[in-house]
């Protein structure tokens, strides 16, 4: 037992030092190259033109973060590989070192794949109609006519946690109908993933009253890797370092949320 602990300590120490050093000994699938999985459409996360199985000159939050990770690990070349979201959560060997596809970390998924340290808080955003006084708390939301898209986390959150006085309006099919309802002032506040409402609000300036706040869901996005990936400790340390030095916040502000909406309690 003591021997096992010692061994674990030594291995742990070795991996951390290697990760910090950022040397060419990073165990990527192809030596010296970082292979990143992506999927589109994901406006704000991955922008750029897909060609064959790759993407040309990508930018966006996850693209920018991948470049920062490569730099941190001392990898000079990045290869992008389209890995459809539907194919991610299987024990199949992955053709990439990691994939960043707005994948929420869940226990069920963790059984077949490895997740990196979280790199984004997948909170719910509150998009309000024009002319509405900004709600300051979840209690304020209770009094409003809320709306959501069918089968989303936002709707579940309205039904189970906010429990508004008026029945929420539910739009099936797409988020477009829900956005239209806010624009037409049929709905006071739409609850949907914060990057989605923020992107929409920026795309159509003047149509809405803005993103009034975000509701903490304790759900996080993590990069997906092979179960038992040797690359995981390196990626985790890179993500943690980029979080600590403010790079991630800067990228979030640049591509997704500017300004970052206040948290409603």
């Amino acid at each position: 037992m003591i021997k096992a602990i010692m061994l674990a300590l030594v291995v742990g120490l070795a991996t951390t030092t290697a990760a910090v050093a950022g040397s060419s000994s990073v165990p990527t699938k192809k030596a010296g190259t970082l292979t990143v999985g992506f999927d589109v459409p994901a406006p704000g996360f991955w922008n750029g033109h897909v060609s064959g199985t790759s993407i040309k000159n990508p930018n966006g939050f996850e693209a920018g973060l991948s470049r920062a990770i490569a730099k941190k690990l001392g990898l000079t070349k990045i290869v992008y590989k389209r890995a459809p979201f539907g194919t991610l959560f299987s024990p199949a060997p992955k053709p990439f070192d990691y994939a960043m596809e707005e994948a929420t970390i869940t226990a069920a998924r963790s059984k077949v794949v490895a997740f990196s340290a979280p790199y984004f808080n997948a909170n719910q955003g509150v998009l309000i109609r024009k002319g509405l006084a900004k709600p300051k708390s979840i209690a304020d939301l209770k009094k409003l006519q809320l709306c959501a898209q069918a089968t989303t986390t936002g709707l579940a959150y309205i039904q189970h946690t906010i429990r508004p006085k008026k029945k929420p309006l539910v739009y099936s099919a797409s988020s477009t109908a829900a956005f239209d309802a806010v624009e037409a002032k049929k709905c006071d506040a739409l609850i949907l993933d914060v990057p989605i409402v923020a992107t929409q609000s920026r795309k159509k300036p003047g149509a809405y009253g803005g993103v009034a706040g975000q509701i903490v869901t304790h759900e996080f996005y993590g990069a997906v890797m092979d179960k038992g990936s040797k690359f995981k400790p390196f990626l985790d340390s890179a993500i943690k370092a980029l979080k600590a030095n403010g790079t991630i916040t800067r990228l979030v502000k640049k591509w997704l949320l500017n300004p970052i909406p206040p948290v409603l309690k």
């Binding site: 897909v50 060609s51 064959g52 389209r82 459809p84 194919t87 199949a92 060997p93």
Partner: protein, 235 residues
């Protein structure tokens, strides 16, 4: 009306979509060419196996029948999902490590081979049995009879329906988009997402039509030619 025309046929939208949709369409062409070549050969093999004589070949015939029955009745989209998502998760040596496009070609080949087998079989059975008996009595082996007497006539007869099935295959390469192959349809979708214009879809349709029309005319031509030939012989 104006809104509709703008969404689907805006000249700028169409022109701007060309490079992107063409990028994807090359994948469609690649899939259809490889799948068609494979189907052409494999279907003939299965059709010949189905027609083998004698009691000893019964297991082979049974396998061929079971295969055609099963894959002719299974939706292509389902087969594509099973191959693209199922096979990799088995973590087997070679079959689990193929690219998505390979799985796409594989599903197209397996499903369409089942169809085309029936086309070949119809052709083989349309050759009068007396010819088979005649060639066997002349001393030709079964293989020789098939090679020199039956198949040349059978294949010539089924060329039009064969081409018809290939037109179907060409269009169905678009189904492979569901497993995540970046084909013309996927690119058209990305385009509509980026520019709020459906011109990408229109353009993809145009590409497919441009490819199938010469095929259809060629089929018509072959049918006409054979009709003339047969009528000439009758007179």
């Amino acid at each position: 009306m104006g809104k509709f025309l703008h969404a689907f046929f805006s000249p700028l939208g169409l022109r701007r979509a060309v490079p992107q949709v063409w990028d994807g369409f090359q994948t469609n062409i690649k899939m259809m060419v490889i799948a068609e070549a494979l189907v052409l050969v494999l279907a003939l093999v299965v059709a010949i196996v189905r027609g083998l004589p004698g009691r000893s070949t019964l297991p082979l015939r049974a396998i061929a029948v079971a295969y055609t029955d099963f894959f002719r009745g299974t939706p292509l989209i389902l087969v594509a999902y099973v191959f693209a998502l199922g096979l990799p998760s088995l973590q087997l040596a070679v079959v689990s490590h193929q690219s998505l496009i390979t799985y796409g070609i594989l599903s197209l080949t397996i499903v369409y081979t089942a169809y085309v087998t029936e086309v070949y079989r119809a052709g083989i059975e349309s050759v009068h049995p007396s010819q088979r008996m005649a060639s066997r009595s002349l001393g030709l082996t079964y293989a020789q009879t098939m090679r020199y007497v039956i198949l040349p006539q059978a294949i010539r007869r089924v060329v039009p329906p064969l081409l018809n099935d290939f037109i179907g295959l060409q269009k169905d390469t678009a189904i492979i988009t569901v497993i995540g192959v970046t084909d013309a349809l996927a690119q058209a979708g990305f385009y509509s997402n980026d520019f709020f214009s459906y011109a990408g879809y229109t353009l993809a349709a145009v590409f497919f039509v441009i490819l199938t029309i010469p095929f259809a005319r060629f089929t018509d031509h072959l049918i006409k030619q054979r009709e003339q030939l047969e009528r000439g012989q009758l007179v």
